[in-house]
């Protein structure tokens, strides 16, 4: 398997706060990799650093062998990294349809765009019902669907998902994980951050455990599921 995304000794700061203290991580083409960790461990920060909206102070992000650490977020997005940010961040004053169109910013063909929109509607029929509603007035769950759909519009090679199941009704949580697997089967590599570590590890091939800005453990998902310490700390088991 070819390495698609590689982080080398990544350090990121928020002002004085040292949020990432030397992260090393790889994601291979076609994989689902998950990041697990307590609140504030730096999971979201890792994703943000990859997509360039937070700049690393040192270290490297390699995408497909190319150093993207110092690139602008929009150039990184164009290279094929999609990011579903924490908190969804839907464009509140754009309609559902327009939000999806924006997702396909770098797609030239109108026909492609319409096809992809149809595809998203197949994944999330609820969105189709709300096609002309403004994003800001959707319910939390609807927004989450829209955020994922929007990221899919660019058909990224790797998709960074930050807590996609947060705030979703149980019936949808299942659905989301099914969809993640489906997207993955269709060829998208996925780096997944989840509080619902149990389900994340069930769909992932490998997992990294983060603790206060460092990778403390790194193993196949199956092994992590079995690890007593991990179960205790992150899976809510006793």
């Amino acid at each position: 398997m070819a390495t698609l995304l590689e982080l080398k000794n990544l350090h990121t700061y928020y002002g004085q706060i040292h949020a990432l203290k030397g992260i090393d991580l790889t994601v291979n083409e076609g994989e689902i990799v998950t990041l697990v960790g307590a609140n504030g461990a730096g999971k979201s920060t890792t994703l943000r650093t990859i997509s360039g909206i937070v700049r690393a102070r040192s270290g490297q992000v390699l995408f497909n062998g190319q150093d993207v650490t110092q690139m602008q977020p929009h150039d990184i997005a164009r290279m094929g990294i999609g990011h579903v940010p924490e908190g969804r961040r839907i464009f509140p004053q754009l309609t559902v349809h327009e939000n999806l169109e924006i997702g396909a910013w770098n797609v030239k063909s109108k026909k492609d765009i319409e096809e992809r929109i149809e595809h998203v509607f197949q994944l999330f029929p609820r969105l189709k019902e709300r096609i002309t509603q403004l994003g800001g007035t959707l319910s939390g769950g609807e927004q989450q669907m829209l955020a994922i759909g929007r990221a899919l519009m660019a058909m990224p090679r790797v998709l960074l998902l930050d807590e996609p199941s947060m705030g979703l009704a149980p019936v949808l949580v299942e659905g989301i994980f099914e969809i993640i697997q489906r997207i993955n089967e269709q060829g998208t590599t996925i780096l997944l951050v989840e509080q619902n570590a149990l389900m994340a590890l069930e769909v992932a091939q490998r997992g990294y455990v983060l603790q206060t800005g460092k990778v403390v453990l790194h193993a196949p998902a199956r092994d992590l599921l079995a690890d007593e310490a991990v179960r205790k700390a992150y899976l809510g088991a006793h």
Partner: protein, 390 residues
């Protein structure tokens, strides 16, 4: 709340029409219809109010029958209200676009307007100095003047953003406001210095005397009253309508327009979608600036003389218009500008007959109208009163 909202966009049901029809409907019929509705609506309401006043106070001054005076002035007031209203609207768009995207009041916009009017003067003056002014085809001349001033003002706005606002992105909201004021002071004196040195004067008179087709009033007959209308009024209105249609198409009908709206709402996420945020912001400033420039040169042609100080009052009025319409809302800017222009024209026309008041109270009444409207519609005429979703 504010952000560049849909502007003149046609309602979404037009999605179901066949594409060609839809295009005509969305970008021609609907916005033109909307402008007509605004103009007629505002004019009718104000006319009725004026006659109502005349009914209440039939003879405010000896030998002055108010109703007669109003009838005599009505066409003139409406025409002058509309032509200045469109100027306000065009300037207001610059405020609204920038406000929508960056959430700050670009106080320097009135000076971008001023620069547009000065550039318009420079072009016309230069042509006149070369002695060929009369040979130009009127349409080509006007289009050239307006386009060049749009270009210069647009680029100036981009430059200003780059120098004085971009480094302040993310700073508290009021900080760019102050640097905008700084830019404004700077531009006024800078233009003045340049003109004073190169022309030894900064009262800049368009060489319209040489163009009879531009200065000779057309007598229009409205019933028994004749109204002399300056051709420039038509040019202002026509130019404004055309540019507004173009803007509507740009913001609602093009991908770039959608990009601007996305950036307006969430810059970070827009960047995640692959949008070059800085470019979009520059583009917004360019478009807003270009509108200011167009308004400036049209205004200059209409009033004949401009100075480096000419931006201040229309700037304030246009800002008021933007707020009146609902700041961030493109249609709102149009409606606000027209309303304000007409309200002023009517006040000027009617207050004259009340000796204790007079035209000097026009601004007070105009602002009172604004405050009244905002009390009842706290987000302006068209600002959606969305309850904030929490």
């Amino acid at each position: 709340m504010a952000s560049v909202s849909r502007g003149l966009a046609a309602p979404s049901w037009s999605l179901r029409l066949p594409p060609a029809v839809r295009w005509v409907y969305d970008y021609l019929l609907y916005p033109i219809g909307q402008m007509l509705v605004f103009i007629i609506g505002a004019a009718v309401v104000l006319t009725l109010l004026a006659y109502l006043l005349a009914a209440l106070v039939p003879e405010p001054r000896p030998n002055i029958i108010l109703a007669d005076q109003i009838s005599r002035q009505l066409p003139g007031m409406i025409i002058s209200g509309i032509s200045i209203g469109f100027v306000y609207a065009m300037i207001a768009l610059g405020y609204t676009l920038v406000y929508g995207v960056l959430k700050f009041i670009n106080f320097a916009h009135s000076e971008i307007f001023m620069v547009g009017s000065v550039v318009g003067f420079e072009i016309m003056r230069r042509i006149a100095d070369s002695g060929t002014l009369q040979q130009w085809n009127p349409v080509v001349l006007i289009v050239t003047v307006v386009l060049v001033s749009m270009l210069v003002s647009g680029l100036l706005a981009v430059l200003i953003e780059r120098i004085a606002y971009r480094p302040l992105r993310g700073a508290p909201r009021l900080v760019p406001l102050i640097s905008a004021i700084g830019i404004s002071f700077f531009l006024i004196d800078f233009v003045r210095a340049t003109e004073a040195i190169t022309r030894n004067d900064f009262n800049l008179r368009y060489p319209t005397d040489q163009l009879p087709w531009l200065t000779q009033s057309v007598a229009l007959q409205f019933g028994t009253t004749t109204v002399n209308v300056k051709p420039t009024s038509f040019i202002v209105v026509g130019g404004a309508v055309l540019t507004l249609l173009a803007l509507n198409y740009f913001v609602n009908g093009t991908k770039l327009g959608r990009g601007i709206r996305a950036v307006a709402q969430d810059q970070t996420t827009a960047a995640l979608m692959g949008i070059n945020v800085n470019f979009m912001i520059s583009l917004t400033f360019f478009v807003g600036g270009a509108f200011g420039g167009a308004a400036g040169s049209l205004f200059g042609m209409n009033v004949g003389t401009v100075t480096p100080y000419v931006g201040f009052i229309p700037g304030i009025k246009a800002f008021t218009a933007a707020v009146l319409g609902g700041i961030g809302n493109i249609t709102g800017a149009l409606l606000g500008g027209l309303t304000l222009g007409l309200v002023e024209a009517f006040l000027n026309g009617v207050l004259v007959y009340f000796p204790a008041l007079g035209q000097r109270y026009t601004d007070i009444f105009a602002f009172s109208v604004l405050i009244l409207i905002l009390i009842f519609r706290p987000s302006g005429l068209l600002g959606e009163r969305v309850d904030e979703k929490v």
